[in-house]
C-alpha cells in the first residue's frame, strides 16, 4: 500500500460522504411528501400508478396493516418469480435455449431475490434466460430494495410522531422509493457502466475464433441495467457466475470505483436522512460515526491480512510484491480494491463480489463473517441496515440506562420492555438460527458433501453460507456447492428468517413508539450525540457479535490463521 493509495481512498470517501449527505437531504424531503426537483417528471407517473392500483395517497396504516401488506407483497413476489423461472423454457427472450430451472434452485432463487439477499446457488449465464433476468431478477432487485427502504420509515416516524395510531402507507413509501430514488440513480449508473464496457444487448452469445484458432463462446446479455440496480439496491446478484469479477460486469478500474460507490451510496445516505427526518442531524451524524469507525476497523484488519504474503505461497516460490495474495482476484483490481469492495459488500447487505471471498486470507474471512453476522448494521442494506443499527441503539440505551439507573429513552421516547423484547428477537433470532443451521450442516452427510475445502476452512464455508443467508447478504465462500436440495432449502429458510425477523419486529416497535408521548430532555438524559454514546454503541455491537460467534470463529478462521502460519496444509 502506497501513500497515494491512501490519498485516493480518502478522496473516494469524501466524495461519497458529500454525495450521500445531499442524497439524504433529498430523501428526507421526498418521504416527508415535499416536492423534489424530479417531481415534474416523475409525479405524473406516480399518480398514474396510484390510480391504476387503487391506492389512496393520504390513507394511513396501522403497523399491523403495514406489516400484513409487507408479507403479502413478498409472497406475491416469491410466487411469481418461482413460476417465471420454472416456465422460462417456454417463454421468449431465451436465445441460449435454457431449460426451466430445477424446483429447489428456483425456490431458493425466488426467496433469495425477494428477500434482497441475492444468494445464488446457480451460475447466471448458464441457468437464467434474458427474460428471467430482466422481468424476474432485476425487477426484484428494484422491489426488494424499495420495500426494504420503505419499512424503515415507520420506525423513524415512530420516533417523530406523538400519540399516533398509524405509521404511514406502505404502497406510497414503496412507490416513492423505487420511482424517485432507485430509478433515476439506476439510469445514470447504467449508462455510465455501458460507456465503460458493461454489456447491454439482447443478442445471443458471441462466437469468437481466438488468435490461436480455438472457438470461444462469450456470454453477453442485458447486464448493465441489472448491475446498476444490483449495486445501488444492496442486492448483489450477478448477471454472470463470477459476479462483479466478470469483465463484462466490471470491466475497468473506473467501473470498479463507480460500482463500489453505488454499493455504499444509499446506505450512507439513509443515516443522514434519518438525522434530517427527525430534525436533529447531529443524531444522524453520531450514528454515522459509529458506522464509519467500525468500517475503518474492519477494512484495516482486512488490508493488513491481505498485504501479508501467505506463508504457503512464499514457501512455494512466489515473489512477494504488493499484490501477492492474488488467487481469486483480478489483475485490474489488485489486493487493495478487492479488499475495499469486500469490506463494502459485507457491511452493507449487498453481497456482490469483485474477488472470491473463499480465497481471501483467514483473518479477512473473519472480518467478512463478522460484518454479516452482527446483522449488517455498519451502514447495512438500503433501509434495513438502519433498522438493525437502531435496534443496537435501543439495546445500548438499555445497557446505559441500567448503569445510570434511569428508564432508557432515545430521542424523547421511553423504551419499555416491549421495545427491548422486539429488539432482542430481531437480533438474536437470525444469529441463533444461523448457528443451529450451521451445526446441522456440519453434522450431516448432505452438508459435508458440498465442501470444496477441507478442515477449518470447510467449516468457514458452511458458516459463511448461513451467515450470508440469515444476514440477507448473498456473498459466498463460493467453493461450497450449494445447489443441492439440502442447501437450497435450508438456506431459503434462513433467508426468510433473516428478512422477517428483522422487519416485523421493527414495525411492531414502530407502532408502539408512535403511540408514545415525547418527553422533553431533562438534565439527566443520556446524550445520544457525543463521544460517550458512540463508544457505548460500538462496544455493544462488538460484544454482542463476539459473544455469539467467538466460539465457532475460533474453530474456523482463527484456527486456519494459526495453521497457515505454521504451514500446516490439509
Amino acid at each position: 500500500m502506497y501513500y497515494y493509495d491512501i490519498i485516493f481512498i480518502t478522496s473516494f470517501f469524501i466524495l461519497l460522504i458529500i454525495s450521500s449527505v445531499l442524497l439524504g437531504k433529498y430523501m428526507a424531503g421526498l418521504y416527508d411528501g415535499k416536492r423534489t426537483f424530479l417531481s415534474p417528471v416523475i409525479r405524473p407517473l406516480e399518480l398514474f400508478i396510484y390510480r391504476l392500483c387503487g391506492i389512496s395517497e393520504t390513507e394511513e396504516m396501522t403497523w399491523k396493516r403495514y406489516a400484513r401488506a409487507f408479507v403479502i407483497f413478498n409472497a406475491t413476489g416469491i410466487a411469481f418469480l418461482f413460476l417465471l423461472q420454472t416456465a422460462q423454457g417456454f417463454l421468449p427472450l431465451n436465445p441460449q435455449r435454457l431449460p426451466g430451472v430445477r424446483w429447489d434452485t428456483a425456490l431458493n432463487a425466488a426467496v433469495s431475490f425477494v428477500t434482497n439477499t441475492n444468494w445464488q446457488s446457480y451460475g447466471g449465464e448458464t441457468t437464467m434466460s434474458y427474460l428471467t433476468q430482466m422481468l424476474g431478477l432485476a425487477v426484484q432487485n428494484f422491489l426488494s430494495a424499495g420495500i426494504g427502504m420503505a419499512v424503515v420509515l415507520p420506525l423513524i416516524r415512530g420516533f417523530i410522531s406523538r400519540e399516533s395510531e398509524t405509521v404511514g402507507n406502505i404502497w406510497v413509501d414503496l412507490t416513492r422509493s423505487v420511482l424517485y430514488i432507485l430509478l433515476p440513480l439506476s439510469i445514470v449508473v447504467c449508462l455510465v457502466l455501458i460507456s465503460l464496457g458493461v454489456v447491454q444487448t439482447l443478442k445471443p452469445s458471441l462466437i469468437a475464433h481466438t488468435l490461436e484458432g480455438a472457438q470461444q463462446v462469450i456470454s453477453v446479455g442485458p447486464a448493465a441495467s441489472q448491475i446498476a440496480i444490483k449495486q445501488l439496491g444492496s442486492n448483489g446478484g450477478g448477471f454472470f457466475n463470477a459476479n462483479s469479477a466478470h469483465p463484462f460486469e466490471n470491466p475497468t478500474f473506473l467501473s470498479d470505483l463507480v460500482e463500489n460507490f453505488s454499493i455504499l451510496l444509499i446506505p450512507f445516505a439513509f443515516v443522514f436522512m434519518f438525522g434530517y427526518m427527525i430534525k436533529k442531524s447531529r443524531q444522524g451524524r453520531a450514528l454515522f460515526m459509529v458506522m464509519l469507525i467500525l468500517f475503518i476497523m474492519g477494512l484495516g484488519i482486512m488490508l493488513y491480512a491481505e498485504y501479508q504474503p501467505s506463508p504457503a505461497l512464499t514457501h512455494a516460490g512466489l515473489a512477494a510484491p504488493v499484490n501477492i495474495n492474488m488467487e481469486g482476484k483480478e489483475t485490474r483490481f489488485g489486493v487493495l480494491w478487492s479488499a475495499l469492495w469486500s469490506q463494502s459488500t459485507t457491511v452493507t447487505s449487498n453481497g456482490s463480489v469483485n474477488s472470491m471471498h473463499d480465497s481471501f486470507m483467514p483473518l479477512s474471512g473473519l472480518v467478512q463473517m463478522f460484518n454479516i453476522g452482527i446483522g449488517e448494521v455498519i451502514f447495512g442494506g438500503v433501509g434495513v441496515g438502519l433498522i438493525g443499527m437502531l435496534f443496537y441503539v435501543i439495546l445500548s440505551m438499555f445497557v446505559a440506562g441500567l448503569m445510570i439507573g434511569r428508564t432508557p429513552e432515545y430521542l424523547g421516547k421511553k423504551l419499555g420492555p416491549y421495545e427491548m423484547v422486539m429488539a432482542m428477537i430481531s437480533m438474536l433470532l437470525p444469529m441463533i438460527a444461523l448457528v443451529i443451521f450451521s451445526a446441522i450442516a456440519i453434522s450431516t452427510a448432505a452438508g459435508i458433501s458440498s465442501l470444496n475445502n477441507p478442515s477449518s476452512h470447510g467449516l468457514s464455508e458452511i458458516l459463511y453460507a448461513y451467515s450470508s443467508a440469515h444476514g440477507n447478504n448473498g456473498s459466498a465462500f463460493a467453493g461450497l456447492n450449494a445447489n443441492i436440495v439440502f442447501y437450497n432449502c435450508t438456506l431459503a429458510a434462513g433467508m426468510l428468517i433473516g428478512r422477517f425477523a428483522t422487519i416485523l419486529p421493527a414495525l411492531a416497535v414502530a407502532g408502539s413508539l408512535a403511540k408514545k408521548k415525547i418527553v422533553p430532555d431533562s438534565g439527566a438524559t443520556f446524550p445520544t450525540t457525543g463521544v460517550m454514546f458512540i463508544i457505548v454503541v460500538i462496544s455493544v455491537i462488538i460484544i454482542m457479535g463476539a459473544l455469539t460467534f467467538f466460539p465457532v470463529y475460533s474453530l474456523g478462521p482463527i484456527l486456519e490463521h494459526l495453521f497457515l502460519n505454521e504451514l500446516k496444509l490439509f
Binding site: T126, I218, P222
Partner: protein, 190 residues
C-alpha cells in the same frame, strides 16, 4: 382483501416499468450511444471476431504472451474461480506445478521467484490482464521464438500497457490480447 388486490396490481405495474420499460430503453440508448461497448467490445481481425478486448482468452503457444491460469480454461460462457482456501494442500500443489511449468517454458532458474498473478488463478477465470512483472518474465521467450530483439518486445509492452489511477500512478498491467495483437501486427509489417 383490498391489500391483496393492491399488492398484485402494484407488483404487475412495477414489473412492467422495471422489467420491460427500463431494461429495453437502456438497451436502446446503450446501442445508440455506445454500440461497441454495449455489444461486448468485440475485436475483429480480417473481418472475423477473434474475441473481446475485455475477456481473456487462452494462449498456450510459445510465440504468444500467456495469461493467468484459469479454472474454467477461459470458457467465456461459464465464468468461475478455484475458490481454494489458503490452507488447501491441493491449491498449493497446483501453484507449485504451475510455477514449475512457467519456469520451464521461460527458461528460468529453478530458484527464480515468480510474480504471483502468473501462477494464481483469477476470480472470473476470464482475467484479460497480467501484471507487468508477469509479462517481463515472458519477454525472453517471446524474443527468442519470434526472432526479434528483446528491446523491441519491451517497447511494444510499454506501448500497450495500461496504467491505473487515470494514468497518474499505481500498478500497471497489460492486456494480453492487445499485446499479442501488437506483436503479430509488428511482424506482419516487417
Amino acid at each position: 382483501m383490498k391489500q391483496f388486490k393492491i399488492s398484485i396490481l402494484i407488483f404487475l405495474v412495477l414489473s412492467f416499468v422495471f422489467g420491460i420499460l427500463y431494461p429495453l430503453s437502456m438497451t436502446g440508448i446503450g446501442q445508440i450511444l455506445f454500440p461497441k461497448k454495449a455489444n461486448g467490445s468485440v475485436v475483429f481481425l480480417n473481418g472475423r471476431i477473434i474475441g473481446s478486448e475485455l475477456v481473456g482468452q487462452s494462449f498456450k503457444s510459445p510465440w504468444y504472451f500467456h495469461g493467468r491460469p484459469s479454472v474454467v480454461n477461459y470458457d467465456a460462457s461459464n465464468s468461475g474461480a478455484s475458490n481454494f482456501g489458503p490452507t488447501n494442500k491441493k491449491f498449493i500443489d497446483q501453484v507449485r506445478e504451475a510455477a514449475e511449468r512457467v519456469k520451464r517454458e521461460n527458461g528460468l532458474p529453478a530458484d527464480a521467484k515468480l510474480p504471483p498473478d502468473m501462477v494464481l488463478a483469477s476470480a472470473s477465470g476470464l482475467d484479460p490482464d497480467i501484471s507487468l512483472e508477469s509479462a517481463l518474465v515472458q519477454v525472453n521467450r517471446i524474443a527468442r521464438v519470434r526472432g526479434i530483439d528483446r528491446p523491441l518486445v519491451i517497447e511494444i509492452l510499454n506501448k500497450t500497457r495500461e496504467k491505473q489511477y487515470f494514468n497518474l500512478f499505481g500498478n500497471s498491467f497489460v492486456n494480453v490480447l492487445k499485446l499479442n495483437l501488437a506483436l503479430d501486427d509488428l511482424q506482419k509489417r516487417k
